[in-house]
Symmetry: C2
Subunit: 218 residues, 2 copies
DNA sequence: ATATCGCTGGAACGTCGTTCCAGAGGCAAG
DNA sequence: CTTGCCTCTGGAACGACGTTCCAGCGATAT
């Protein structure tokens, strides 16, 4: 039954690849060892020969998905532009694979996180931040990215069960617009901006805001 | 309305209270309808009479835990101090109940998030941010808080299975310190700061950095 | 006394991550 | 060629989970 040679052979690579595909179009809850084994035409037990458990599988999926972002190497631009480029690379990856947001904070993605922090830190250093503030400034950038990633993951989770981003956002904006003006003046005022803002632009403004803070603290 | 006599009567309040206690000392994975019903000396079915499902239970737990932070009302200080006070209140709540970090981004905590964003937004407005930038600046603050919360939750998850914060942090600092200097110069350089930094101070520096950025963009 | 109703708690269902194991197929030694 | 091992397979089974179902309790209303 089991053909050893050629494309039928299971491998960690094929498993991770299939896992990413399932996560991409079904969300985190769609990744199941049973569904995965069905897609790979095998049994759950076979997968465990190549992957220790689900946590390791998710970690490998994160690693593989972020590999491109982490490999990119642009030493030519200004530190500010380098941070923006790295952050935008992260955003695009998270936008394409929202499930990353739910995993990035975990211990399983430690090595990916370390690489990201290293990149950010080098640029913060190049920005002229005093040494004893570099760590905090860098972790501020990283925490912000993590927060956006988490929100993205949560939004994607809601999307799987129901409507599109535009519908979801429109409904939320409508809620904000109909709030009590005495209690929620701010949300009411920005409901329109919530309704048609661009996530990527919003993210970049956040990065720029923190960079401006770093520039001011220099 | 036949209420059971005395303290044996189940109620949504008692259930949420017990759920928070279980989350606090066992982490997210410790909250189980079976364990919860054992603690309350009843069956799983009884709990479902008061609570629709686990998602609603978690949402109620978040709401109840953040109630104090959301109720606080200090209109006396400067906008900057108001943001710091609100953010620190959030941090302390998250620090005491790390499982919040895993839930706050979700749709289940929407009403709590709205209240927080409203508070932050009012202060950002008071800081003199131009109207069309207020939404982005506020969401930057919120995303940062969410990111820190998420990391806190992930750290707490690791702590349940193993060592204390000091041990975990020390081990991580040791890893950073022993990295290849050519590939990870930054992480190596800040390994010491990672080892003995104060989470609360780190958080506050992040808030101040964003506030400085807002000040610069005004 | 009887019927009604809010509420209880235990049994049961389907699904999950994970473990176990009988055995298939290739490879090296006899 | 035969034998034995060794890597890898895939299906069965286990315990725990969220959730549903329902027989029945005590208090109240008729």
């Amino acid at each position: 039954m089991a053909t050893r040679t050629g494309q039928d052979g299971l491998s960690r690579e094929r498993i991770v690849e299939a896992a990413i595909a399932m996560l991409d179009d079904g969300g985190e809850s769609a990744l199941t060892f049973r569904a995965l084994s069905t897609r790979l035409k095998t049994g759950p037990g076979a997968i465990y020969w190549h992957v220790a458990n689900k946590e390791e599988l998710l970690a490998a999926a994160v690693q593989a998905t972020l590999a491109d972002v982490l490999r990119s190497d642009e030493a030519d631009t200004t530190p500010r532009d380098a941070v923006r480029a790295l952050a935008l690379g992260m955003f695009d990856a998270i936008d394409r694979h929202p499930w990353i947001g739910g995993q990035l904070a975990g211990l399983a993605s430690r090595s990916a996180s370390m690489r990201i922090i290293e990149r950010l830190g080098q640029q913060v250093q190049a920005l002229g931040m005093p040494h004893h503030h570099q760590f905090f400034a860098t972790s501020t950038l990283f925490s912000f990215i993590l927060g956006v990633a988490g929100q993205n993951a949560a939004n994607a989770r809601a999307r799987v069960a129901g409507k599109s981003r535009a519908e979801l956002l429109g409904a939320e904006a409508a809620v904000w617009a109909s709030l009590d003006p005495a209690e929620f003046p701010f949300l009411r005022g920005v409901a329109g901006q919530l309704g048609d803002h661009d996530d990527r632009e919003q993210f970049l403004v956040g990065i720029d805001l923190i960079l401006a803070g770093i520039g001011a603290a220099r």
